[in-house]
């Protein structure tokens, strides 16, 4: 077989995933030499017409980066699905909606008004919002439609593989490319990450999990050797896939779950919530009355934003219920 035909396409993304490819260093050149790049607009001068012109199903592997936040993203996703044998949801946005998925706490209209009318520096007395179609002295200008509900890639098209991480650890990119080069891609559904949660690779020592209080990470200087959760700092590590080698936790900053839920979890947030509640005031639980329990629990300031930092669109409810 010839060189595998690879495309890297960008949906709603910060571009961090494919920008991080440059951190492969010189390896990038070998990759570029060994694959036939069908499309990679960030790196080279490609236009979508190039992708449109290739026969359907002729792209061996497409890395789709980013969430689906507007009509452009959706069209692109459907196009690459048609063109590709296999699609990787590349990065946390494509896998779970990522940080942009947090927009599901609200709806587009509200978000627009906040950004274009509500901010301090905006001078917008006529309350102008960007419009899908607008006329400027007789000239028509078009913008894509921003959706109310942000979606992960597999909520729009079927996806063969997932490579979570914000950005994904480079080792997994290499793994996937090597697999593509050797024509030995794993069975569909494979996730390029660890099967175990982050604790498996976290170097911190673990003792007894019994939280007497929930602390915010700026409130204490934690013991840098011991499990952050045991020190009262909510760390998403236990409910989050490993594979990143815990760089954040290593810097005394708790995991926020970018690698997504573990294989058996239906809802990353619910899993962590249950674990946290279980070990909260464990030694006094029979003694802790309702009225003392609630304040203890309310020490966790922002459950939704903490449990679903990177995965709101793939949470059980997918979004906050819009007020009608």
């Amino acid at each position: 077989m010839g060189k595998p035909r690879v495309a890297i396409v960008l949906g709603s993304t910060c571009a961090g995933c494919d920008y991080s490819l440059l951190d492969l260093g010189p390896t990038v050149l070998d990759v570029l030499a060994n694959v036939e790049l069908v499309y990679w607009p960030t790196g080279a001068d490609f236009k979508l017409s190039d992708l449109e012109s290739v026969p359907d199903g002729s792209v061996d592997l497409t890395l789709y980066e980013g969430a689906i936040t507007n009509s452009d993203n959706e069209e692109l996703a459907k196009l690459v699905r048609r063109k590709s044998k296999a699609v990787i949801a590349y990065g946390s946005c494509a896998c779970f909606g990522g940080i942009p998925g947090l927009a599901n706490v609200s709806i587009a209209d509200d978000i627009m008004k906040t950004a274009y009318i509500g901010t301090w520096s905006t001078d917008n007395k006529r309350s102008i919002l960007p419009q899908p179609l607008s006329k400027v002295d007789s000239k028509h200008l078009v913008l894509p439609v921003t959706y109310d509900t942000i979606r992960a890639l597999d909520q729009v098209i079927p996806v063969e593989y997932y490579m979570p991480g914000c950005p994904p650890p480079l080792s997994y990119i290499e793994q996937a490319l090597v697999a593509a080069l050797s024509g030995k891609l794993p069975p569909p559904g494979h996730v390029f990450a660890s099967e175990r949660s982050l604790c498996d690779e976290c170097k911190r020592t673990k003792e007894k999990k019994n939280l007497t209080a929930i602390k915010r990470f700026h409130e204490i200087i934690p013991d840098s050797q011991r499990c952050l959760l045991e020190q009262g700092i909510l760390c998403m590590g236990p409910a989050t896939r490993g594979g990143c080698k815990a760089p954040c936790v290593d810097n005394n900053i708790p995991c926020r779950g970018c690698m997504g839920p573990t294989p058996e979890a239906l809802d990353q947030g619910a899993k962590m919530l249950s674990a946290l509640a279980s070990i909260l005031a464990l030694d006094q639980e029979t003694g802790v009355s309702e009225d003392r329990l609630i304040p203890l629990i309310q020490q966790l300031k922002d459950p939704l934003g903490t449990f679903y930092r990177f995965g709101l669109p793939k949470s059980m409810f997918r979004r906050v219920i819009p007020r009608r």
Partner: protein, 155 residues
Amino acid sequence: MASNFEPRIVVFACNWCSYAGMDLAGTSRMLYPANLRVVRLMCSGRLEPEHILYAFKAGADGVLVTGCHPGDCHYISGNYKTRKRIRLLEQLLAQFGLEKERLRLEWISASEGEIFTRVAKEFTEKIRALGPSSLKQEKMFAPLISARAAGGGGD
């Protein structure tokens, strides 16, 4: 129409106290609404918040979690775990915008068939009054853009 709306209510019960209490309601021929469907667990401590979210996602208008009274847990402390989980889950559901009345935690002992009957009636009426859960309405997940305020527009 709310008038002919029949709430769907999922009940989680522990084998030793609350499920037994519901059995007692039956053997005592107490009557309560037919809207409830019971999932039997050995202990309320087995119940995962995930299961509750799933019940709502699958279409439940209300979820009733029952367990032994504090101190009576057949497994010593399962119900305390449940209480902590439910209370924390309530905080989360509030952020999701789900009416807090749709999730209820009750301690029902094996001898409290009557109390269960009362709770079943109350809860069903409460949910009936609230109407169908918004999580049922698929349109909630629709990606479509909401109607924009014209806000000056183009010209």
